[in-house]
Amino acid sequence: MLQLESLSASYRGLKALQGISLTVNAGEIVTVVGANGAGKSTLLKSIAGQVAIEGAIRFDGEDISGLASHKIARLGINLVPEGRRLFPRLTVNDNLRLGAYAKRGDPDRFKPLDLVFDLFPRLGERLKQRAGTLSGGEQQMLAIGRALMTQPRLLMLDEPSQGIMPRLVDDIFAAVVRIRALGVTILLVEQRLSEALSIADRAYVLQTGRVVMSGTAAEIAADESVRKAYLGV
């Protein structure tokens, strides 16, 4: 579904990605792990069209490199960004509905709301609340919900567990598994190695902007050097 071919990108003057090649097949959960500053976020931003890149990004075989980010989003690639980037002064309801804004004219565009409330019942209870007043976990749920409103085919999540109470982290990961079961392909960037590997099919290990290892999630999880480098055990 998604192929990166020797992708390079600079971020704030630094070479953040160097010759990354990566594949995501339809229906998979693929995770990209690596230490802070390895280029994980830049990788997702590059695919979402937020960072200037060299190399090719193919989605369903079409080269999408250089497209504006809203066009990439309309193709069905959606990024839940680091820091969530909600619209804090707008209500939960408005944030969700804006996810379907690009589909104006489609009478069924608010249909994914049912799915969102099913996944995250808390959001349904806080519809009138401003997004900025939600807790970290609720904000993450809203960010994922807003992305689901765009009806993505490839959902990219950047550190969904960041800044969230441990109890809610499991809920978020469980939601990711359920979203995949609905046919949405997932590309997950995470610092929490073991949780990410436990739900992923395949994994890539990133180090200073390069892929240093890739394989099935089980292979990566079993690899001593990865555990040493990123778990400190």
Binding site: A68, N78, Y101
Partner: protein, 291 residues
């Protein structure tokens, strides 16, 4: 000083203040949306006034009938300014602040020069409009009809802007204002939103220009003074606040009218600039501004 005189002054301050408010609303809308100060805002007002004058002379239509035409025209001008100039200024990677200031500043000088070239510098006016020189008398107070109509139209324009902000497009506008990167991630074309925002800001000042053309002199320089007042109004009301622009516009109108009454007409702007200094010193974000 009679009670009638004071009432008369307060009323004319209110009527003028509503026009200031709409001019300021256009400026505030653009600034709030994308943090770009439109230094050519007064020139857009002047363009609207000349457009009204030219179309009035050409087609023989009354300014009131020209209102929708000029509003749409200015909407197009605003969108064109964004697409041709501002979008490019936003995409530069160095000295962004300077570029954004000088692009609209240069545009202002260009528009003023072009008006001077085509129309000359003399003052013009529209004397044979439906409303010209008509007044209504109310309990001893005389209300000039053109001013009254202008303030009513400005209030209606405010109501329209408020109604737009409640629509789905209004939400997208607010979302773009809050996070211009994040809207792209959910498929919203922020360039389109910005362009429409410029269109709306220019149309707002365009509406004010048409109504002003009914009773105010028209010259290439006319915009400068209104722009200055608009900056004061926006600073008082708070950048990006629609309600703030409305209230601040009325306050500025009243302060101007009362300054002229209490001091003397030539000092009528002293009061409003004193307010501006006070705002800068004590409440830089304005009455209703967002931090």
């Amino acid at each position: 000083m009679t009670a009638e005189l004071i009432l008369q002054t307060l009323l004319s301050g209110l009527l003028m203040g509503l026009i200031y408010a709409l001019v300021a609303a256009g400026l505030s809308l653009i600034f709030g949306l994308m943090d770009v100060v439109n230094f050519a805002h007064g020139e857009l007002l002047m363009v609207a006034m000349f457009a009204t004058l030219v179309l009035h002379n050409l087609l023989g239509l009354d300014p009131l009938l020209l209102l929708p035409i000029v509003a749409v025209l200015l909407f197009g001008v605003g969108m064109a300014i964004y697409r041709l100039l501002i979008a490019r200024a936003l995409s530069v990677t160095f000295n962004t602040g300077m570029v954004q200031i000088f692009v609209t500043f240069g545009l202002a000088i260009f528009i003023r020069g072009a008006a001077q070239f085509f129309f000359g510098g003399e003052f013009r006016s529209i004397n044979n409009s439906w409303l010209a020189n008509k007044t209504v008398a109310l309990a001893g107070i005389y209300i000039p009809l053109p001013q009254l109509a202008a303030s009513v139209v400005c209030l209606l324009a405010f109501a329209l802007l408020l109604a737009i902000s409640k629509t789905e497009f209004g939400r997208a506008l607010e979302a773009t204002r809050e996070d211009r990167e994040a809207v792209g991630l959910i498929g919203i074309d922020r360039d389109r939103i910005f362009a429409i925002g410029w269109g709306m800001g220019a149309a707002a000042v365009g509406v004010a220009g048409v109504m002003l053309a009914n009773f105010y002199y028209i010259s290439p320089q006319v915009g400068a003074n209104f722009a200055l007042i608009a900056y004061v109004t926006v600073a008082l009301g708070g950048f990006g606040s629609l309600g703030g622009a409305l209230i601040a516009g009325i306050v500025i109108g009243e302060v101007e009218a009362l300054s002229a009454l209490v001091l003397e007409p030539s000092l009528k702007q002293v009061g409003m600039f004193a307010i501006y200094l006070a705002v800068l010193m004590f409440r830089p974000r304005g009455l209703f501004g967002r931090l």
